[in-house]
């Protein structure tokens, strides 16, 4: 396994948010991290990246224990994050946003431009002047520039227009067929499930179900994901 999380717990001050999360991602696999709002998806991702310190449990990435490392060390080891809410550097240009993140590997400005041609057209524009969809493409491009072994997207398409969502999903499918391991959080099951290999469902800070994407029955969906 590329990534193995077991018994992960984390708190925001006195409030415990994760009570034991287990999940695993293999090389080249896409894992969908599911659950209703407030069930711990974002906290799991934050704890994985060291942004919210894990209070217990193990996080093993490429055979290394990473649970106590600083965020930049974790990123250096090959974890790429696309944070919730299309977080670019608003006052840097598209090019600068990409260059900042660059680490040696197959992803370069040129290959990111191939994946997202719209970014190439807006190379010299400030990130804050981009549309929401373009900012999300930039956030994905920036994460790819670190040449991650595992790409993690928190809310991959939230709040984007349908036509842009299609572009993002197409890009993610292309990444997956290129062998990229991915964890993705998204609300749109109809778009997510056909692409994902496996799913892990979180409820109240605990992983309650893990299985193949095709085995996620309507009953399960209703029980854990319905509103």
């Amino acid at each position: 396994m590329l990534l193995e999380i077991s018994g992960l717990t984390a708190s925001y001050g006195p409030v415990q948010a994760l009570f034991g999360v287990d999940l695993a991602v293999a090389e080249g696999e896409m894992l969908a991290l599911l659950g209703r709002n407030g069930m711990g998806k974002t906290t799991t991702i934050r704890a994985l990246f060291g942004l919210t310190p894990a209070s217990g449990g193990r996080v093993s990435f490429a055979g290394r224990e990473i649970a106590r490392l600083a965020p930049h060390r974790i990123a250096q080891l090959g974890l790429g994050l696309v944070p919730e809410g299309r977080r670019c550097f608003p006052n840097l240009t598209v090019e600068e946003n990409l260059v900042v993140a660059a680490r040696p590997g197959r992803w370069t400005q040129a290959s990111v431009a191939e994946l997202f041609p719209r970014l190439a057209e807006r190379r010299r524009q400030l990130a804050r002047t981009l549309s929401g969809g373009e900012q999300q493409m930039l956030a994905i491009g920036r994460a790819l520039m670190t040449n991650p072994q595992l790409l993690v997207l928190d809310e991959a398409t939230e709040g984007l227009a349908p036509i842009i969502r299609q572009d993002i999903w197409a890009a993610l499918r292309a990444l997956k067929s290129g062998g990229q391991a991915i964890i993705v959080v998204d609300k749109s099951l109809s778009e997510l499930l056909p692409v994902a290999d496996r799913c892990t469902i979180l409820e109240k800070g605990t992983s309650v179900w893990t299985g193949k994407a095709g085995e996620l029955s309507p009953q399960l969906q209703d029980r854990y994901l319905g509103v």
Partner: protein, 324 residues
């Protein structure tokens, strides 16, 4: 296409170049001294512009590096003048390039130590702890009688530069212009570099920078050290301009002046430090000639800039910055 900001910059360069000519024509050699002050304060502010403008590091301790640079020049010159050895038996020197290198190294080392500790804090704590370190160095200088203590250190002959008569105002001014130009070029190169992008990124959002595998702490520490090095050179020049160095160069007034100056000029703008230094020196000269309380008017002007012209004078003249 030529932008408004570029136009303003070209005008400024021409103005600076016109000062020596005007001084010659009007037979007012004092103008040269004023321009030299502008160049030196401008250079110190360029250093600050890297840390404050790009990195968002508000500190109250940069006078420490300005003063350290000044004392390096003073101490080396005094030992060379008296022919006495310094610490470890090393000789002094009166050679400017050598003094600059020593000033860069010493300021850089001091900044590495101070930065490594202070950059673990942020916001008001960072301001206060940098101030505390600067005051420590200030009181150290005051209580060090070997180098003048409270009275400071006078050296009678300005340090030399190979092939240049530095005692004449014009050649010294040109040396200061050259170093200011180098400082501005360095600022531009840094701003355009990956390092500059990461530094600005760390100002905008630390977590996002960390998530790209860059340690915000290390980036800031490097910026802090570069800033100190530039400020140190400016301090050495300032000591040479006055042929005098005193604890006043290390005091928090000096840190305040540099911040005021860069806010007046335009934080984060390439020529902000130059405009600020020019304005500051002119006000000091003109208003200072009219009233002793010229800083009241400076204060009013600062208030005006903060309230109505967020981009400083450069912002007022050249419009919004590309980098916000």
């Amino acid at each position: 296409m030529i932008t408004r900001e570029r136009l303003v910059e070209i005008t400024l360069v021409l103005l600076l170049a016109a000062v020596p000519i005007a001084a010659q024509l009007l037979n007012e050699p004092f103008y040269l001294t004023l321009a030299t002050r502008v160049a030196i304060l401008g250079l110190a502010a360029v250093g600050l512009n890297i840390a404050l403008g790009l990195g968002g590091l508000v500190s109250f301790g940069h006078a420490a590096f300005f003063g350290v640079g000044g004392y390096v020049a003073g101490v080396l010159a005094i030992h060379a003048f008296n022919g006495t050895p310094m610490l470890l038996g090393l000789p002094g020197t009166k050679l400017m390039p050598f003094i600059w290198i020593v000033a860069i190294l010493v300021s850089g080392l001091v900044a590495l130590g101070i930065g490594a500790l202070t950059l673990r804090t942020s916001g008001v704590y960072f301001i206060m702890i940098t101030l505390a370190f600067a005051q420590m160095i200030y009181y150290f200088a005051i209580s060090w009688p070997a180098y003048g203590g409270e009275d400071g250190l006078s050296f009678y002959v300005r340090n030399g530069f190979p092939g240049v008569d530095t005692l004449k105002p014009l050649p010294f001014l040109l040396i200061c212009y050259a170093l200011l130009a180098l400082g501005l070029i360095l600022f531009q190169v840094l701003r355009k570099s990956r390092f500059g992008a990461a530094l600005q990124g760390a100002r905008q959002n630390e977590v996002r920078v960390a998530a790209t595998g860059i340690s915000p702490y290390r980036i800031r520490l490097v910026a802090f050290v570069i800033w100190a090095m530039i400020t140190g050179v400016a301090g050495a020049l300032y000591a040479d301009l006055n042929r005098f160095v005193s604890p006043a160069m290390l005091s928090w007034h000096m840190s305040g002046e540099l911040i005021v100056l860069i806010v007046l000029g335009g934080v984060g703008r390439r020529f902000g430090p130059v405009v600020g230094a020019g304005l500051y020196v002119l006000l000091e000269y003109w208003l200072g000639g009219i009233t002793e309380r010229w800083q009241l008017f400076l204060g009013l002007m600062l208030l005006g800039v903060v309230l109505f012209a967020r981009g400083g004078l450069i912002g007022l003249l050249a419009g919004k910055p590309r980098h916000g």
